[in-house]
Symmetry: C2
């Protein structure tokens, strides 16, 4: 089985993005995380910063929904559609790793997609986000909880599925237990 596309769903702070980037580098695949934001900006005409902030967050539903009510959708829906179109385009090109944004669900009809979920214990995630993004006013735990709460709600709203349900991924792995490098090796061995 050749997997032309790899999707990574990750808890905030689990190192999922780093794992995805490393896999892409080793395979010579294109890597899409913020890179997808740029394409979605071109597609939708929305500002990159807005997509970056709200690309996995359904809160735009209420915020600006009055603008789009007559068109039958919220700004969040418009952003979801823009990202979905970009994900389908890059999947057609193949040989890519896509992080987040319901890519596993959007590409569910294809049979060449390897879906991965990366999670970790809170201690690992707290340590990692402070190292990577620095201290903030909010505690690391609150930052992790806030971010994942939004991702969970976004995923549920647009897919109807539960985020982190093992059955939706060929592999779910605990980066806190094994470390980022071992997760990369495990995925490479399965490919």
């Amino acid at each position: 089985m050749t997997y032309n596309i790899i999707t990574i769903t990750r808890e905030f702070g689990s190192g999922g993005r780093t794992i995805g980037k490393e896999i892409a580098d080793r395979l010579g695949y294109k890597f899409y995380d913020y890179e997808l934001v740029k394409k979605a900006a071109e597609e939708s005409g929305m500002a990159e910063d807005y997509i970056k902030d709200h690309g996995e967050d359904a809160s735009g539903r209420s915020l600006l929904s009055f603008m789009w009510n007559n068109a039958g959708g919220s700004i969040s829906d418009l952003l979801y559609i823009a990202q979905r179109n970009v994900i389908r385009q890059i999947a057609e090109e193949g040989h890519c790793v896509i992080v987040g944004r319901c890519a596993d669900y959007i590409l569910r009809e294809r049979d060449d997609v390897f879906n991965i979920f990366i999670h970790a214990d809170m201690e690992f995630k707290e340590k990692r986000i402070v190292e990577k993004y620095g201290e903030r006013t909010d505690s690391p735990q609150k930052r992790v909880e806030d971010k994942d709460k939004r991702r969970i709600a976004y995923y549920k709203y647009y897919t109807g599925r539960k985020w982190g349900d093992a059955k939706n991924y060929q592999l779910s792995i605990d980066s806190g237990a094994f470390g980022v490098e071992k997760c990369v090796d495990t995925i490479m061995n399965l490919l």
Copy 2:
């Protein structure tokens, strides 16, 4: 990190039992599935066949509950407690693989337990249960659904957790996508 205990939670027909047995053989660990039933029978005085049929099934709650109401528990609760005590005993002895029976939850306070969830697509499971257990009056799909429905309800009832939630296992893997042997190799590499 040395994992003295490995727990396997598995969908019916996924090959999880076979994977657990192979891991136990390769590591020289003891293997507990039906073997646990015998110990629970000794512990509780209940018949082995009853435990085999209802050891991951909370339906005994209604069936014979009148017998135990005065004692504050159902026959299913008594069986759960017997199995829990056995699981704690064999965990104390260490170097074992335990299949099913909420072992991941029962041993959650320990830090030497590697929890694994094995799942697969329906086609793989249907094929496997016919090969392994033969044809029955019910369709293979119905047999899979019935068995897992009971396991899910049992797990929910005694742990309050959702069965198959990736966060509860260090590894969740799709045996239908990779095959039983590749799953064994992946687990061995992580150990």
